[in-house]
Symmetry: C2
Subunit: 190 residues, 2 copies
Amino acid sequence: MYDLLFSNISKHIILDEREAAIVQSLFKPRVLRKRQYLLQAGDISRFENFVTKGLLRAYTVDRDGDEHIAMFAMEGWWISDMFSFLTETPATQHIDALEDSEVLHIEKPDLEKLYREVPKFDRFFRILLQNAFVANQQRVIASISETAEEQYLNFIRKYPTLEQRIPHHQIASYLGITPETISRIRKQRL
Amino acid sequence: MYDLLFSNISKHIILDEREAAIVQSLFKPRVLRKRQYLLQAGDISRFENFVTKGLLRAYTVDRDGDEHIAMFAMEGWWISDMFSFLTETPATQHIDALEDSEVLHIEKPDLEKLYREVPKFDRFFRILLQNAFVANQQRVIASISETAEEQYLNFIRKYPTLEQRIPHHQIASYLGITPETISRIRKQRL
DNA sequence: AAAGGACCTTGATGCAGATCAAGAAATCAG
DNA sequence: CTGATTTCTTGATCTGCATCAAGGTCCTTT
């Protein structure tokens, strides 16, 4: 299961054996059943998580009890409540498993140790965060400029795999539209 | 004008004199009149820009000719079309000055040189990008879960300075609502 | 100081998509 | 295998905000 992590890392930086051993020693595996929480809002997000199997989601719950999905994460993706992780304040997001899943996680003190002992991880995460920034910015633009139909069709074009694995109402919750609207869009398209 | 850049940098990393000299040699100043373009969609975004004076915006224009503001940047903030900058493909965003402004910019080859010669800049930008990621994610959640009124009130609470300096219709364009709606919200609040 | 923008307000009307409701189909747990 | 839950669909109705339109004020430029 560390293979996926190493192949992910090696896309951006090259590790020697000593460094790989450090990584292996700091990332701990964790298994999650479907529906199990990895993080509950109110708790402090103490881990950065790399998904090696399955599919997770991070979401907030508003006053009306409605869920709004901040992100999905499948194999090879990272997930956390980054604000809570950085500031060590209570999380506003829940993270749970949409399928039986496995993650490799690293605690904050260990991540700091990693940055200290293998500084090129600053570069690695800098690159990941650049990509995440771009993706998030595109999502903002889509959200303020596109119709429900455009957003949905672009979503399934961009993430065909996710669209197969996720119930439609979760996609709706990610896009900020209702399941009924998705249903009607699909009807008129088939 | 390099003072603001150095004080920004020193919030996250410490530079010795040699390193400061490298920074100073790689960042070039540029002056912009109000309404002047720093980047036009279609061109390749060749610079990462740090604002030392004034106020800029990045925005896209959709098929209907409507503008959607991706971000504002005032003194001490960074701005670019990051996707275009990273991939060296034509920009989808325009960047222009909302006030007479000054930026310090660095070209991509020089930024790569900076990473090579002063690797702690990987850390610096990693930290900036973490913060940007969090801010963007909160903006996405707001956009899919809040009413126009909530978004507007939270915006002026979060960015009181911007709200003073920017015409309302620009805020509307940032939030994905119309100037008329902002006008009506303000009416019923005063 | 005058003319032309840019910006803001207010009212009337329209509509995309939400909400409400209820049933059908698919999936899951025991 | 069976009841329960989750997911999806379809129709009827409602509503927040957009759109359209017009007038007023302020700011720039000459």
